[in-house]
Symmetry: D2
Subunit: 118 residues, 4 copies
């Protein structure tokens, strides 16, 4: 057992943000025209939280088009439509994390890409 350090905290906070984003916004009714507006709002909503250095949200336009119900012209935001790139800064540490759809595993995978200690 060791002391908890800034690196641990940076990575922990990054995980919290991805989990929160996913379960807050998945299920939102959308169509292709809403993609840009919703992406910005998700970025802002994560960006107001503590320790977020930068965030980029992309929603897969092609998947939305394919999923839009033909009769009703909309679908729900799904985890696999989301590509998230997030940097968390905790004191001297930057954690770079990501969420994107892993086709083979059929799973919206969250992963740590890089950790910078300054």
């Amino acid at each position: 057992m060791t002391e908890i350090n800034n690196r641990d905290r940076a990575v922990f906070e990054a995980g919290i943000k991805l989990g929160a984003l996913y379960h807050q916004f998945v299920g939102t009714p959308i169509n292709v025209d809403m993609i840009d507006g919703l992406s910005r709002v998700i970025e802002e909503s994560i960006g107001v939280q503590p320790f977020v250095r930068s965030i980029g949200v992309t929603i897969d336009r092609e998947m939305v088009e394919k999923k839009q119900n033909p009769g009703f012209g909309y679908c729900e935001l799904e985890g696999r439509m989301l590509h998230i790139s997030l940097q968390v800064l905790y004191k001297n540490v930057i954690a770079h994390v990501e969420m994107c759809y892993h086709e083979e595993k059929e799973y919206p995978l969250m992963s740590i890409k890089k950790i910078e200690e300054m």
Copy 2:
């Protein structure tokens, strides 16, 4: 027991939209700068759904300011911050419904304001 008519359907659909909106968006992390962007996205997200004729969403700026955590500078969207005005058109019927905070009951009250049959 009587036949289900267009008026029933209009009012039912209006209820669905209010319940959906509430439980999809309440909990979203926000600050005052996000109020306009988020209001528009909620309007769009309800607007893409079937039978919605018009929707107006207002988020109470004063309540957001008061609720913003002093240490962290944000809060979560709460039901009582929302004022929703919605019209659903089902065939020849327009149902006008509303959600707004009822101070005395301390409750975000949803109600039917008016039904037009044409």
Copy 3:
């Protein structure tokens, strides 16, 4: 334009409950062993709300089994896994409504089944 009556209110409240339930619980991580427990909790959570006379929630076991990620052993609750049967009582009116997956429309359809005025 006509007076809003108890029948309108019963149907409106029924719509609210279905929309709320959907957007509150869809996205919940589940496996087949959780189906019974989660169904009961959804029923209870709708049942504590005003005007609910009875509610029955069934989650499609076969669909959950099929959707469980082979690598991870779980999936998320989706709208089309849900079968909901709800009765709302508003004064002298009972609205019977339902949500179930409409295979042809590929859509979790909410509908009014019957209205009793006593």
Copy 4:
């Protein structure tokens, strides 16, 4: 910049679970009678996810009682009603994390309590 290790991954996964739980279940309509059933379902729902070694969820009965709307007899689950204790096992590392309400900061605080490397 250094290699990402098992400790990073354990802590990251623990953060994901807490963020997910929070934004999935906050907003659920509840009363005091539902506390036990809902706590078990939240535990199960987090427990089916990868790398979860154990989870304990407690909902603050007193706060629920106080928050129950006097007219309607229920309230919504709020972050500050939740006490979560979670262990994530990633290969040789166990991350012990927690969420509980911090009265002074008026904030449902998530924190790492302990990290064991075996």
